[in-house]
Symmetry: C2
């Protein structure tokens, strides 16, 4: 990983740029979304021309932050950006169809908290100890003397609450709570945000979760729990794949489970895998071994195999991780 | 409600008492449990003889706080208490089998945040604006100049995180976050607490949730969702009734649902009801009308009818609440 630049350096680069494009990672989550929208809003408030460029669909529970204003799939929206910033990611595999556009920036920048981030940009702040990229942006905004408002606060809260699992994961620190306490000053409405992100589940999703969990396979005396979201189940319930992400948390919540794996049938020969660890397992090892990435307790990968073959492959990697721990 | 006493008054009474009994409410939840254990530990650290007196079973996910030390069902453990304190409750209906023992205290005290608390004790601090009784105790401990430690911090975090729905409910304030940020100083391990309280679900519970949700009844275009935990389902899965409480949150998380009701078959002619509101409904009105109590967005009651009759009764009360709102 490259040495980080200072907050002042990033602040100065941003101040001197006019046309700015933001690049959150694919399969955009609460941190990538909340951080990108907060930053885009701050940039526009500064008079910049700024957009968030994406390449895949935004899940329904996050669209309330966009307000139809910031996000676009149109790569030509800004032709020669002064500055491109990858947000909550730092590897080109996390924005594969936008790589060329990212490097078309006169200056490139990366703001991220993933340990797997490779510091590929001209200017980088990568802080793996931050619970969320939203925390890094909070500090950057303070350095930039930004006028915080309700929308920016709601976005940063979304980023922090979702990436800390509502202040439960081990990445949560006193800083996460101090930042959120401060955001209330600017009008944060944590209840409205929470209802939007967590209490808009479709009945289809609830039924899908029940069917997926019913087929859970327990491995190594229940230390590993693996469940499959098949195309067949989605067809039966009418649920969209991007609504199924939270099932992996339910899987992990089962007593005795150390690693939870949710295996998702993307297409006939493409399977996506979400991994979660509980106490000691480092699930990023299995994810990286299969070409993916992530954190110690939350990682993922894509396997170009059918769902049954992919399940066997990931199962073997996870068994290795449990065995590795028990040998050490 | 009686006028509150000051924190200094409560602190002085406690300092001058030697034998102290604590009374958390029945169906003990994270706030009642975390608050009682924190207070009991503080009292013992001060050299007091102190116990927590209960009258029903503690759910498995909370027993880790007790450490086999503080809780007893033996009403004779202290014969003539100098001080009795009801914690996280202020109505005798919330400790029905312990009422006489409570009033046997030479001095009685109440520390609570329920608006329905009736200030029946000699000394009262009832703060409905506090998100959890744990927040009130935090302030009391600061007033008493208590030496906080990891255990006390973990207890108060349990109280706050569970009563705020992990900082999502509208009762959450910047104070909740400031307190938690401070608790990290004393060794709070929020991840260990969270794994204990949320990630020890039995497979029986997961299966029960699926079966209970499958039978959900939607009323008034899905504004009300009612699901039943029947004795039959519990027999089939082997799950205990006190493990089913969280299902009501899943019910409320369905998009469009304004009120969620979980109806639990306690015995042939006794049904317990848990209610949750989302945006505008005040579920405490229906709960109070049926002899129960609670908060605007989380309340409950017991109906001495079989589960089907009780379901019709609560359904009618909830319809009234939705209609009442739409008429105003």
């Amino acid at each position: 990983m490259k040495k980080n630049n200072s907050y002042t350096e990033l602040s100065n680069i941003i101040k001197n740029s006019k046309k700015i494009l933001l690049f959150p990672h694919i399969n955009i989550d609460g941190d990538a979304m909340g951080s990108s929208v907060a930053l885009c809003r701050v940039l526009r408030n500064m008079g910049k021309e700024a957009y968030i460029l994406v390449e895949d669909e935004i899940s329904d529970n996050l669209t309330f932050l966009n307000d139809d204003k910031y996000i676009t799939e149109n790569q030509d929206i800004i032709s020669n950006p002064d500055l491109t910033i990858c947000v909550d990611c730092g590897e080109i595999s996390r924005f594969p169809k936008r790589t060329e556009k990212f490097f078309s920036g006169k200056v490139t920048m990366c703001v991220d908290h993933h340990g797997t981030s490779d510091g590929t940009a001209d200017y980088n702040i990568v802080e793996p100890e931050a619970a969320a990229t939203g925390e890094i942006l909070y500090r950057l905004f303070k350095e930039m003397d930004v006028d915080f408002d309700k929308e920016i606060s709601n976005c940063l809260f979304t980023a922090i609450t979702m990436d800390t699992g509502n202040f439960q994961y081990s990445n949560t620190t006193f800083i996460s709570h101090q930042i959120v306490a401060d955001l209330y000053k600017y009008g944060l409405d944590s209840n409205v945000v929470s209802i939007n992100i967590y209490e808009n589940n479709s009945w289809e999703k609830i039924q899908t979760e029940a069917l997926v969990l019913a087929g859970t396979e327990f491995v190594l005396d229940g230390k590993i729990a693996i469940a499959k979201v098949t195309a067949k189940i989605l067809k039966k319930t009418g649920c969209k794949m991007n609504e199924t992400e939270s099932i992996v948390s339910t899987l992990r919540s089962i007593g005795g489970v150390e690693i939870a794996a949710l295996v998702k049938e993307d297409s006939k020969n493409n399977t996506r895998v979400s991994l979660r660890g509980k106490n000691y397992a480092d699930v990023s090892i299995a994810a990286v071994a299969l070409g993916g990435g992530g954190h110690v307790k939350a990682a993922g990968c894509t396997i170009e195999k059918n769902i049954d073959e992919a399940t066997e492959i990931i199962k073997n990697e996870l068994i290795k991780e449990i065995v590795r721990y028990n040998e050490n």
